[in-house]
Subunit: 152 residues, 6 copies
């Protein structure tokens, strides 16, 4: 999703598709290193082959994290990431798959005079359009009407 | 949480507290690099100082990812990360804060003859015990009663 | 610079200032690791203290590389990075300095029916507005008038 | 180039060829992470395939940065990287290509009683000897005749 | 080895086999970056092909370091890594090999009232069971009988 | 040690001192990520403070790995790292300490017509000259007298 505007300018139902990113073995290795999650499904090919997945796959949290890197986040308007709801890791993500984020504004929650929450249903898909991760994200966004605030 | 047993051996209400991990500037820089999320609140000190947070803070997804590295995940029993619900980034996480994960089994969902979902309410806390991230995770776990399956 | 349009839409003299990024010790360590440049001015505090710089400083190539991460590069229009001219590392960049890129379109070179080169004078500055790195970059950009080409 | 001597000991026209380094997918992923440059030509295989390059390629700045890691930089004599001139990214650098740096001293600029600038024309080549990046670098080097200075 | 108990509970002769980890190109690139060891046998495919090894191989120290990540280290009982003896890099470790650690307690050295050294013979093996690295490690471990000490 | 010559040109008793490298928090975080060793003494400040070390310290294997990056390894003559003996982690290495390697050739083992083993006693020291890690390393080195072999 493009979070590139003040809160008032989002419309429920608007849709967006992000650019893509290829999930590489190097990403999986790097994410294991950052998170500390070395579960063998991600870093042990011998183990992974014997599972239902048949090969090493990306951490669910890696795929979800890569999605956040595909958002457009305007420093002018975005305040902070607010929350996640009903995230499901629907399909395994293998090495070499190219993901993109399809999103739709699902709701707009007024919060206070200066900000609101943009609720977005997002599906992380692969190049064949298959859903990999579904879920809802909430982004805290400044209002245009906010008097010159913290950022001035 | 310690996911170190077959599905049948979890009890609703059991609790666990993980060991800790200090969130460093290097973690934030590395996570920006893996995720591609270079929102200035995380990597631009000048910008961050003028926000309500007053300093660079960790990505919410970094804190959540570090939590997964604090789980115990037995290769014998854990199948895959299944999902996340109602995750809220309650407090900002600054450089130098040491986080830990407090968790409680909230539900046990039978899924098929070979596996079930362990539902866990987790709170990521700092060294003062303040909640930083709350939420619920779902882990897909093998049953002990499963006939010798994919892993044999 | 925002490379977010077809070649025809740049105007000589137009200016832009990027968002910022704080150069951290972790960036220097990571860049040494990627480039293989472990010159002690960057990774040996004892050595660095005895130099004219008085402390560890960022690799010039790191500062220059961070600048490229501050460009806006539209996948629709940017073809490739074309070249660099007269880059000078004017001031050392210390740990904790926040850099930004000030740029001005200096020339527009028609190249072929489908593309042109946008020439940009750029100055990487710190939070006090001091020039750290000066130089000129050349970006190969598609023309709007290009018949549906490689990207269709 | 081997910057392993005081300024007085370089001769215009002397040549050098560095050892090699293979550019891997992991290098591209790491460089995207350090620089923040996630342009899809480098990290989105689906996008890259449809470009004139036909596949993901290394960032120009990565290739240039790897070259600096192939220099010999004597802590005794090298003061700092001074500048770059007329760098051109002549050919795309694909995953798996092994690069090396061919260089020739092009000029020697006296600067002050203690130091001078060694000007080097460098060509980064692949294993087939094809030029990938051409350009000129300037390195600030101590003089042998310098009275015991900052480094004593 | 599982260092998950107080010193008194180890028995000479007990054996353990760790889970596995696949050594990837990304690990080699990352280890070169952390250690600063860019010897071309690890990062230059053209060079490596002409050696007796015929291809890039992992740093011996990388394989040894990966082994430490496969130990179980209980924060409750492990004090520190004490030493290494007679480590031999027996076979080259190629990209894609999955390693595991086979270990056997070789000795138990009483050290003081609060701690002892567990001496372990370890062999790092590949998926075909071939020895890659042999050696002995020494781990400093708390005694159960230690009066409440530093960790209370 | 400078491994920059054929086997015949080393002399028992010759000494060398390497350049230095400062051990940073970023190195510790990166090494935890590469090795998978997230023992809390290295990554949990709250835990580390209560230990005898009083603060987070570097992994012993990190210090040892950094030392290998401080060797000079001539691609012409060095064949491979052969082994390690009697390595002892004598003193903890804190964040910010600058290490260097002091070494002395302790033995020369003829191995076959083409190569020999250079045995080196090494002490990794800090800026105050205190020993941090002691041990012996073995490097397999080509002979000058070797008929044109694998590398021609």
């Amino acid at each position: 999703m493009r979070f590139d505007r003040p809160f008032e300018r989002y419309v429920v139902g608007e849709r967006h598709r992000s650019r893509g990113r290829t999930v590489t073995e190097a990403d999986i290795v790097a994410f294991a290193g950052v998170s500390g999650d070395f579960f063998p499904l991600h870093v042990d090919e011998t183990y992974a082959r014997r599972t239902r997945f048949g090969r090493r796959i990306a951490h669910g949290m890696l795929t979800l994290s890569l999605a956040t890197g595909l958002y457009t986040l305007s420093p002018e308007w975005v305040i902070a990431f607010y929350g996640l709801d009903r995230v499901r890791f629907v399909r395994p993500v293998g090495i070499g798959e190219t993901i993109a984020v399809e999103s739709e504004v699902a709701g707009l929650l007024d919060r206070d005079p200066a900000s609101g929450i943009v609720v977005v249903d997002q599906t992380i898909v692969n190049a064949r359009g298959e859903a990999l991760v579904s879920g809802r994200i909430r982004m805290l966004v400044r209002k245009e009407s906010a008097s010159t605030g913290e950022r001035e």
